[in-house]
Symmetry: C2
Subunit: 326 residues, 2 copies
């Protein structure tokens, strides 16, 4: 297997636990970008490599003005540093050094009948430097570690068969690990992507979401890494067939108008409520990589409400009242 | 003078301090809406009266799709209720009942050469019910009171004469009260409307901003009410002549594109950093009235940077490095 380099400082290979995850994240980024480029048929991802003051960096890949994808990003980051007060407060953690590595993607299609999709899979480690067996290693002793992630779908028009396919894909992945996971992580997703200031309207039709999953006796760190890898690997099968099926649907200005109204809700959620966005911006994350999640064109209208009985009202209803799809 | 009713419960007249301010706020709303309608020449404000669960309500007036103004709101609210834990924490206040009354406006013109403008003038009172002389009045004893407000301009293209006119208007108002006010409140404005996540880029070219001004020996409550009234009254002269001067300027798709990019920054500031927006949404304020501040059409592009030497770059420079205009 080819040896990968994260940057000049960090060699990525299969040697140890952390490096396995770093390798996976790089490889997943390559596979997802290739699959989305094939689906788009025109646009290619452009890459920005960046370094973070304080430790690490990332690779941001952005696609824009494609046949299918108007704006999207598939980003990875491998970052580390000192534990700061804001991290102690917000994450309720101890330790003096941290490490995080993950992939985060958002894809906004141009056609209102193709849904927007988001996913994020990440590992976090905490170290206590004073406990380092050698007393001088960069990382010290791992005192805490967790995985988090999820994938969720934001359609503008509801196709039940698409919703079922998307949820079934993740249910199949979850069931291979624990039959309780899908119902639990589906509910966590419905409870997380909520515009609390709009009568608890959801951003979309959900998917799965899990956070801060720490190794326990049976569900050890290998279990959670394998689960996160399986979820990450499922993305292409969960989303691309939906985009393929809907990408040539004809649409008019009214459909586009509704898409832009709903994109406004997407912006509201990300900037007002999304913990990752707000935490990233407050802790000096790379602004352009974080805000690549925002759609290209957005519309805000005062007190906009779709006509009852329309497809637009149907979509809104399913955001207000999450359904069981399978 | 005509007796005004806030709603069926609260009579507004000139009788006492609080009622003077409530009367002023209603009257200012009427005068500003009339001036903006005259400037627009086509669109009329539409009015929504609303009540707040817990006490009070407001009058939201929205203008849309005019000749000049694409979207805007001139809102007033007269609200009161019990002091909650989130208020104690965020406002660092005591007391058990509160009252607030103010006017808040945002106007987004269609033409990129006409600037967006925002202003807000408000009074806040705190009561200790247990100290009420009668023991049973709705309000008890006033134990704290403050005024806050400001007006700031967000142009998309810089016209120095417009910036000077706007700042000079507020400097003239300030100087009638205290020659130290304009420099102090101009700086507070530059320090408040900041997109901290974008290298401290300002939302626009500022104006004045003051918050939590409590009565002291010489600067008593009448002083601060009169100052706030004078600032509120100055809005029409500060803004409307600029809109009149620029509203017929011809523009092309590139100008509109830049306006929508800058509107994206406006959205970022309001949803990520604006204390009023976030506090309002968290304390169960009326979402549609709060978010009327967002522009109609907005654009987010990855890592967008204007070409050096262009008018767009000049505007960005003045947002990154606030100037003294007078």
């Amino acid at each position: 297997m080819e040896t990968k380099f994260y940057d000049d400082q960090t060699m990525v290979n299969e040697k140890d636990f952390k490096e396995k995850w770093i390798y996976f994240v790089h490889d997943l980024q390559n596979r997802i970008c290739a699959a989305l480029e094939t689906c788009d048929g025109k646009a290619k991802f452009e890459e920005d490599k960046w370094r973070r003051t304080g430790g690490g960096g990332g690779i941001t890949r952005v696609i824009s003005n494609g046949n299918v994808f108007e704006k999207g990003g598939v980003n990875i980051s491998v970052v580390f540093g000192d534990v700061t007060d804001i991290m102690r407060r917000q994450l309720k953690i101890e330790g003096d050094k941290w490490f995080a590595c993950g992939l985060s993607l958002v894809v906004h299609p141009y056609n209102p009948f193709v849904p927007t999709v988001h996913c994020n899979y990440r590992m976090f480690e905490l170290y206590n430097h004073s406990l380092s067996p050698t007393g001088g290693g960069q990382e010290g002793v791992v005192i805490d570690r967790w995985f988090g992630g999820g994938t969720d779908l934001t359609p503008y028009y509801l196709f039940e068969e698409d919703a079922k396919h998307f949820h079934q894909t993740y249910r199949d992945v979850c069931d291979k690990f624990d039959s309780g996971f899908y119902p639990r992580f589906k509910k966590e997703c419905d409870d997380y992507f909520v515009n609390w200031h709009r009568n608890e309207e959801r951003r979309g039709i959900g998917g799965i979401f899990y956070d801060m999953q720490r190794p326990e006796e049976k569900l050890d760190e290998n279990f959670w890494m394998n689960f996160s890898k399986a979820c990450g690997n499922a993305f292409i099968n969960a989303y691309v067939p939906i985009a393929e099926k809907r990408k040539d649907t004809s649409f008019n200005a009214q459909h586009k108008h509704w898409q832009e109204i709903r994109r406004g809700r997407y912006v509201e959620f990300n900037l007002l409520h999304d913990r990752g966005t707000i935490f990233g911006l407050k802790t000096n994350g790379r602004t352009e990589s974080i805000l690549m999640s925002l759609p290209a064109t957005v519309r805000f209208e005062y007190d906009y409400r779709p006509e009852p009985g329309t497809p637009e009202a149907e979509l809104l209803d399913v955001c207000l009242h999450p359904r069981e799809w399978i």
